[in-house]
Symmetry: C2
Subunit: 332 residues, 2 copies
């Protein structure tokens, strides 16, 4: 699958979303309905962030996973909306923590409103997500998503405390992104399987599909932060660097000994101006660190696609495999 | 009850805590066990805040309510710990939003560590609270506490958006504090009743007890912010004023027309230096605004105490009534 010829990647990414268009429309309707509050600023901020679009990747995963397991009801729509709420809440708090000014090519909420309102509206969305999941009534779903939420926070805290740390190992880095990114992907897919009352093997396969896809997704994010076309990225190229966030490409370049003095000056002494960023990009490209990270992402995607082997062939399965493949080729 | 002669108030506050000392010790043990994480900064920050003590008022309310309804198991211990986790998470985020530097007489977590870590550790505690509640397994409890959490966030957002607004009405102000403070009090007491499988009338009585007690508690907080002895308060006197937070005493003084130009300069033009604070305190005292707020708190306490009428007499009931009464006489 991974080496088969493919049409334009954008088309392919569109394919799962097109395939599930009615369900996705229902998820969007549910999101807009459930984010309402008599407190006007809440739907303003939540609506701003949510209407910036994004790929709705996590809700798509929940829907696709449930339907791949033969689910025919509509609980997965509401749970997919919950997953997106949790994701949106973490985005609001992330932008505060990372001091980001752009999100999906637009001003981030903390810049447009304030850090204070981003913190509080994030709290609201998070609580609302739990309200909706509780209304759904499955303790199994609640267990998966509450554990995912605390794990995400743990991952973010490790990343915060290991910021600027060039001694970060590949292993620790993978632990961080397993927690902060891959965990919500795997929760999204596992919840789909649970709603469909899938067999344990299918549930595990889908959870692992989400996990490995999430890892690949984050690694490609790390690559794009240094290698993307600014126009298409939706945030500033180099934000990880500016924020002193040590990501896998930097770990690889530093391990290889490519201009260590430069990396130390950048991450330990804080000299991270635009000239330093250009030099960092050059080093990451020339040392092969970006390519090595991308190869690792490819391996995770292969593993993800392999997780779907046990499911009978269907257009949905192909669309889901393509989505995984696409994550290697996205530009923002 | 409210006019009966009482021994020293501190003794009386101690009485419910002493009466429930073994249960409170079990709650503390549960809190320290459940806040653990392989990510060292999490128990550091959570433990710092939790070990600052505080009154453990909300967990005490859950335990007392359950036992007042005849509960004899131990689920209320773990749920009381969840209630304290939610409270601690909101404190962490509040201090970020309010830019507070002191909490219970010590440096606040956002000052000692950073706003970023306070946001993330708050998220962790919040998620962990839900994990624990889900492990308890009662959808009824989960419904109460998730609704309380989203309501608290709504209340905080209204307060944020109405900051500096001298046109805030008494009615809107009471709505804000119903949401941001009283809701967790009433959730704490109602959860106690639910665990005890109490009759609907008892459940409603305890929920209303928590609600009115919470209102009284917040109003006394508002009074103390202008009238407390700095040594005993545990935070700086005047922090509401410095932060431009319009509270009920200010609403009363402004409505009465006591030096309106001063209040406008303070809240609309932002002239809130120490001289202005002294003048504000003088105006609030002389206009009777602090006394009027205190009287309102007294009325809520009376209403709270009345909510317990239907319960048979017991030492526990007396201790709970005293706790309500004490809230009018605390100094910090």
């Amino acid at each position: 699958m991974i080496s088969s010829p493919l049409p334009s990647e954008t088309l392919r990414m569109a394919s799962l979303a097109s395939f599930l268009a009615p369900q996705l429309a229902a998820v969007n309707a549910s999101i807009f309905e459930k984010m309402q509050s008599p407190v006007a600023l809440i739907p303003q901020i939540a609506g701003y962030l949510i209407s910036l679009g994004g790929k709705r990747l996590r809700p798509l995963l929940t829907i696709a996973s449930a339907e791949l397991c033969g689910y025919e009801g509509d609980r997965h729509i509401r749970l997919a909306a919950c997953v997106e709420f949790i994701h949106t809440a973490t985005l609001l708090h992330d932008d505060v923590v990372d001091e980001s000014s752009l999100r999906r090519g637009m001003m981030s909420a903390n810049t447009k409103w304030s850090n204070k309102s981003s913190v509080l509206v994030g709290d609201f969305l998070f609580s609302r997500a739990f309200e909706l999941m509780i209304a759904d009534g499955s303790l199994e779903v609640l267990t998966i998503l509450s554990k995912a939420s605390s794990t995400i926070a743990e991952g973010e805290v490790i990343q915060l405390t290991s910021s600027h740390d060039l001694g970060l190992s590949e292993e620790t880095y993978l632990k961080i992104i397993s927690a902060k990114t891959a965990r919500l992907f795997s929760a999204a897919t596992e919840v789909g399987a649970v709603v469909a009352e899938a067999k344990e093997a299918q549930r595990q396969a889908l959870a692992h599909f989400g996990h490995t896809l999430g890892l690949a997704f984050q690694l490609m994010d790390d690559v794009l932060d240094y290698a993307a076309d600014q126009e298409k990225l939706g945030k500033r190229v180099g934000d990880d660097f500016r924020g002193g966030k040590v990501t896998l490409p930097v770990i690889f370049a530093y391990e290889k000994g490519a201009d260590r003095a430069f990396w130390q000056e950048a991450f330990e002494k804080g000299i991270r101006d635009e000239g330093a960023l250009s030099h960092a990009i050059r080093l990451l490209k020339e040392s092969g660190a970006l390519l090595k990270t991308k190869h690792m992402a490819q391996d995770f995607v292969k593993e993800a696609i392999g997780c779907l082997d046990g499911f009978p062939e269907s257009l949905l399965k192909t669309a889901l495999q393509d989505l995984a493949y696409f994550s290697l080729h996205r530009e923002g």
